[in-house]
């Protein structure tokens, strides 16, 4: 079997910015007050009264070309199972080089001193479960799976729907895809 390539697909048409994903993540991963690993963007275009909007649940893009891992001087930021980008807390010195390198502003410094971010809930995925944000989403906005598996929902969605990634120009090759 080929290697796994984990990805998240966000259907912006379904999202109502209810923030359940943010709360589920905070509860699951004990994210401290004042920080979050995922967040909502409500982007609006146009001028009154001709407006259009997009609701996006955003998080670390678990890029294929990882600016953060390249920037990390200690090897704390690393690529794990399925291409998941993780931070080893014990190796992290809190130097913030990865925060500066990340095009998505997806990382923050935990009050305990290390840098923290979305893990795609790898601890849950390894148990055969879905990430916390995906499992709580009431409007079926979020999908998680293996892009190398042609039977997975994420694979099928990207084969059938129009999608985009954020800041493709950075060359980071992000693995969070937005249907619109």
């Amino acid at each position: 079997m080929s290697r796994k390539r984990y990805a998240m697909v966000v259907d912006t048409r379904q999202c109502v910015s209810c923030k359940a994903c943010v709360l589920a993540c905070k509860a699951e991963n004990e994210v401290p007050d004042g920080f979050s690993r995922d967040w909502l963007m409500e982007e609006v275009w146009g001028d009154y009264p001709n407006l259009s909007a997009e609701n996006r649940s955003e998080r670390c893009n678990h890029c294929t070309n990882t600016p953060c891992v390249h920037a990390c001087p200690t090897g704390a930021s690393h690529v794990n199972e399925g291409g998941t980008v993780l931070v080893s807390h014990n190796k992290c010195t809190g130097c913030k080089a990865c925060i500066a390198a990340c095009p998505y502003n997806a990382r923050y410094t935990h009050p305990a001193g290390y840098v923290d971010k979305c893990t795609f809930c790898l601890h849950k995925v390894q148990r055969g479960e879905q990430p916390a944000c995906v499992s709580i989403c009431p409007t079926k906005t979020l999908f998680f799976g293996d892009l190398n598996d042609p039977t997975s929902e994420v694979y099928k969605l990207l084969r059938s729907r129009r999608f985009k990634v954020l800041f493709p120009e950075t060359g980071a090759k992000p693995n969070v895809y937005f249907l619109y």
């Binding site: 259907d11 048409r13 379904q14 109502v16 910015s17 209810c18 923030k19 943010v22 709360l23 905070k26 509860a27 007050d33 004042g34 979050s36 409500e42 609006v44 146009g46 001028d47 009154y48 009264p49 407006l51 259009s52 909007a53 997009e54 609701n55 009431p138 409007t139 079926k140 906005t141």
Partner: protein, 686 residues
């Protein structure tokens, strides 16, 4: 969890030791508290109607049963006249039955859904939001009519930023186009409705051009959207909304919505309104309520709302003032309703609470109402208690059980226990004959042929599916007498009252005065919070912890305010000395009184109501004649240590209400505010 472990929770029963409004209480044991409440309430044994119950939420069933056994008819909730009452009345008048909750809209199968001022998605009624998401994923087209570019407007094919208060004009123009272009369901209309010809005549002159001058929606947009609505029939849902108490003509607007649905034949059809089914579940055997009940006291003397289906919550408040109603209300039992923030005209609510002989509040948190109660009884949260079985009419008939996942914390007790203990002390023990709540639930379920253990394990039992649509062979029943959908309402015609016209009647709304820099104050909900009930929840508040006021970008620039600036909203009121009608205006209004034609010289200026400081959201997502804020903030109860002082309260600014003559609802969207710049409050600076 944020509620369960909220450090501010009510922990032990409290008895007041100082005047109302000050939070000086003595912690007592349950026996002392219950004895005291029972003794106070028993004073009204001969006149039980002097007691009123306010109740909101599933847990209220025990207390409703208690006060019915006691003998009072006065049971109210702000969720009727302040919320969906006008909708229920309008649908009952048109289709023969109210919509109820959950409303039986069939969004997952709709091809076109039209929202009139409903901000579903921000209003997070979970099942409905899921249904809406399913509809969107199936490719349904949305039309959203809202002065504000809401989240759902962002998903719509058409956003119609209508002038507030003119929705009836738009609805009539849509009917005009749909009838003229023969886009209505002729067979359905012929078979199931009465009064189509009268409607046709009524809307003949309600052209898109006529509506344009009232709504500011361009005629070609009205025609295009009408074609979209009519073309998708019968899977075209004009959503009835939920909090519908806006401008005092709300039953008329909801009747127009109901009738438009009838024209496209959506009621009882797939993609419109399904016909819900309810599982049979016998009651627990208790004696019939023996005491003869008085007429409720929610109408002022001489008032008559011909189609009031529910008791007016604000009416029960007004009945506290001696001589207002046919008899006076002397005591309140308040279950889960934070009345100081949930009723309009909060000043009047405060005066009523000062006048009452006795107030007892059953609550989880020290909300504002507990600060006014003589006795506070701490209830266990929904995670710590059983409640009665829920079995509302729904798509799939079901039984659902709320059951405890942890033992009650502190010295809190479940509602069923509190109600039963009071009943035992008030000579009403025969109405609560069950040993404990599990025996009660088990008996009910066994009588209905269900298994308690199964319900406990699954939480929800689905029962036999029933046909949902007319096309499945279901024979719908409509209005009594005619068994038809009453487009023209003879009952309303017979009432012969202004505002109760038999076909939806448009009246121009009062408008904010531009010269006085007034804006209409609109309010709505945050998807993260449930009214003001969860704003003390520290976990939810880690995501959304305050509200902001939305101001149109151009207006904000003119006023030189921008995102994050602090402002205060001011509501100016002038009361007509002759008829008591209230008018707005920074300076004395120039027009005569719209109620009695008295000269403006007769008007008396009230003390302006000022909001708490609130931050600005400068946005292109709202019309220039209104501002918007989320409801539920601006708590001032000292006990709510987290929520206190965060954001501003819209409820505080609801000084004027426009009463619906059909059913007595209190329209609250007729409050106008001025915006004054201010500096950041001290807490925000630190």
């Amino acid at each position: 969890m944020g509620l369960l472990y909220d450090p501010d929770r009510l922990k032990r029963p409290l008895i007041r030791r100082d005047k109302r409004g000050s939070q000086v209480f003595e912690e007592v044991d349950w026996k002392t508290a219950l004895d005291h409440v029972a003794e106070k309430l028993s004073k009204y044994t001969a006149t039980p109607e002097a007691l009123a119950l306010y109740s909101h939420g599933y847990g209220g069933t025990w207390f409703k049963h208690l006060v019915k056994a006691f003998g009072t008819p006065n049971i109210g909730a702000p969720s009727d006249a302040q919320c969906r009452g006008s909708r229920e009345t309008a649908f009952a008048l048109t289709y023969g039955s109210p919509l109820g909750s959950p409303e039986h809209v069939d969004m997952p199968h709709s091809r076109v859904i039209t929202f009139i001022g409903s901000h579903l998605g921000e209003n997070m009624h979970n099942t409905q939001v899921q249904d809406l998401a399913t509809a969107i994923s199936h490719g349904a087209q949305l039309i959203v009519v809202d002065p504000r570019f809401s989240t759902v407007a962002g998903k719509a094919r058409h956003w119609l930023p209508i002038k507030p208060g003119t929705d009836i004009a738009l609805l009539l123009a849509w009917m005009h186009v749909i009838i003229k272009e023969r886009l209505y369901d002729r067979e359905y209309v012929e078979q199931h409705t009465v009064g189509f010809d009268e409607l046709k005549k009524h809307v003949e002159d309600k052209t898109p051009e006529w509506a344009f001058t009232r709504t500011t929606i361009a005629p070609e947009v009205i025609v295009e959207t009408a074609r979209l609505i009519g073309g998708a029939r019968p899977a075209s849902l004009i959503h009835p909304g939920r909090r519908t108490a806006w401008h005092g003509d709300d039953t008329q607007r909801l009747r127009a919505i109901a009738i438009l649905n009838a024209l496209v034949g959506s009621y009882g059809r797939k993609g419109g309104f399904y016909i819900p089914a309810k599982p049979e579940l016998p009651k627990y055997p208790t004696p019939p309520y023996s005491r003869k009940r008085a007429q409720p006291a929610d109408w002022q003397k001489g008032q008559n709302y011909p189609f009031a289906d529910s008791i007016l919550a604000h009416g029960l408040r007004d009945a506290v003032f001696p001589g207002t109603a046919d008899y006076d209300i002397k005591a309140w039992l308040v279950y889960g309703c934070n009345l100081p923030l949930a009723l309009p005209q909060p000043e009047r609510t405060r005066e009523a609470m000062e006048k009452l002989d006795f107030i007892v509040a059953v609550d989880v948190l020290p909300s504002e109402i507990t600060g006014w109660a003589d006795v506070v009884l701490p209830e266990a949260t929904y995670l710590e208690r059983y409640d009665d079985i829920a079995a509302p009419p729904y798509r799939e008939p079901y039984l659902a059980l709320r059951q405890p996942v942890v033992e009650p914390l502190h010295d809190s007790k479940p509602g069923w226990w509190i109600a039963r203990e009071l009943a035992n002390r008030m000579g009403l023990a025969e109405y609560f004959p069950f040993e404990n709540v599990t025996e009660y639930l088990q008996t009910r379920l066994e009588k209905g042929g269900y298994d308690f253990a199964e319900l406990k394990e699954k939480g929800v039992i689905l029962t036999e599916p029933q046909p949902l649509y007319i096309e499945d062979g279901l024979e719908p029943t409509f209005c009594p007498d005619t068994n038809k959908i009453e487009i023209y309402s003879q009952k309303m015609a017979d009432a012969q009252m202004p505002g109760v016209e038999p076909l939806p009647h448009y009246t121009d709304p009062e408008e904010p005065n531009r010269a006085d820099e007034e804006f209409r104050l609109l309010f709505g909900r945050s998807p993260v919070h449930t009214f003001g009930r969860t704003t003390n929840n520290r976990f939810l508040s880690s995501v959304v912890s305050k509200n902001v006021v939305w101001i149109n970008r151009q207006i904000a620039d003119e006023m030189q305010v921008t995102c994050g600036d602090w402002v205060v909203l001011v509501n100016d009121t002038w009361t007509c000395g002759t008829c008591g009608k209230q008018h707005s205006g920074k300076s004395r209004p120039s027009a005569k009184c719209s109620g009695c034609q008295a000269e403006p010289a007769e008007f008396v200026q009230e003390k302006p109501v000022r909001s708490d400081p609130i931050q600005v959201k400068r946005t292109r997502r709202i019309r220039s004649d209104c501002v918007y804020m989320v409801h539920g903030y601006g708590h001032d109860s000292k006990g709510l240590k987290f929520a206190r002082g965060r954001g501003a309260s819209d409820a505080k600014l609801m000084t004027r209400v426009q009463v619906d003559p059909v059913m007595g609802g209190t329209g609250m969207n007729g409050n106008f505010v001025r915006i004054e710049k201010t500096t950041a409050p001290k807490e925000a600076q630190s």
